[in-house]
Symmetry: D2
């Protein structure tokens, strides 16, 4: 844990009341934690915009009956084994699979990886969620 | 202007340094102004999610040579005159026009208005940007 | 108007039904128009990502009682007169103003302009909506 | 696999060229696959907007040294065991952990779950990526 520093800021009275409401609505313990999360969100966005070393989760939805798709996805992932840290496979129903893939690399590399996986025939949806290595967020 | 209230918060030391950097990068006069804008952005998003009375700008890009399009757009806008506060038309080049339309109403009404304008033949792009009446942001 | 070309594509039967529903829900005259708009949206996003010459609307919400804000905003806009094509000012209520600013330039320039306007004290919200010069969308 | 249906559509000639470029840039095998993915993306967005039964991945970034955080996260996840299908934990470095959590439920329930996990002290970032059960995408 990093040490906490006290700082003061000024806020218009009505805006302060709105802030208190936001904190309550989102169930945060206090104002500071809520504001910290707003700042961290900006930092994560900056890391992705500036193509820094980031962490992201790719979620793939696909039909495992599609011929050779599983093999191709596995092959592709091995090819990117420097970026991919873990893959979890879930059987949604008789035909549909979901894979969550945690990857680390430069933002542009993870976007490229997403695009590569998404274009495979039988993958019906692919999405990338953006988080951080945490270095700047502590 | 509302009166400013002083409040204090706590922040991890490295996160404070990151905050100072964000403030500098975005050219804000000080930390408080930057954080106020983060909070206001959340408030605007909440207003739109909760379908409150909001303000939005619709930007239309269209080809004025498209038969009867100008008439249809004008008619449609008159039909929504309770929501539309102002329209500015810009001649981009020989064929393309842009219209900025400022509208006020419930969030769902403005989305509906966008969809109505967008589906007209000859409109090649339409987009809606979300802001507020300002009541909660002062 | 550009000439229309006929092309054929294949779609899974259930996906075709979903497409028909989307077309109906959004009120489009036919499938082709709906798909054209999906493609155009991708083209607009690409133009902004690749920092091409684009068109954007900046919407500013501000309190005109803020000392010298109007002067500063006017000055700033004149400084960017090569990018700004038109500005429309609307009086929302006793204190709040909205300005819609249509600007043309490289995507990064318009983002920079947004940031410049947003950081002025008294501006309570600023947002940028992304559209195109239309060159690639016709 | 669903059976493929042939359909035809019309497109302005220059827009068709742009489409071919998008298909090539994203590495798709053909036009139809690219357009299918555009349609599916709209369907996923509609499912989330209409609060249907959906699938989502929550990615949590947190400091495992934070007192009792791991216990609280585990407890919370058990409380939501009807929605959570799988959790994968990755050790990023000495202090930071990432958890990918695959959840199924109504869109609003998954948003609520995200908010619940995010507000825990020590969680420095949380994000939700939206996909589908696949029912409408095949």
């Amino acid at each position: 844990m990093s040490e906490l520093t006290r700082l003061s800021m000024s806020l218009e009275q009505p805006l302060l009341q709105q802030l208190e409401q936001l904190v309550a609505e989102h169930g945060y313990a206090n104002r500071s934690e809520y504001i910290r999360d707003l700042i961290r969100e900006q930092l994560v966005q900056r890391e992705w915009q500036q193509d820094e070393q980031v962490v992201g989760t790719i979620t793939l939805l696909y039909n495992h009956l599609q011929r050779q798709l599983s093999e191709r996805l596995t092959q592709l992932q091995h090819h990117h084994h420097h970026q991919i840290m873990a893959t979890t496979h879930i059987h949604l129903d008789e035909t549909m699979c979901v894979e969550m893939i945690l990857a680390r690399g430069r933002a542009s590399e993870l976007r490229h990886l997403l695009s590569h996986l998404q274009q495979q025939r039988g993958v019906v949806h692919a999405t990338l969620s953006m988080t951080s290595t945490g270095g700047q967020l502590r």
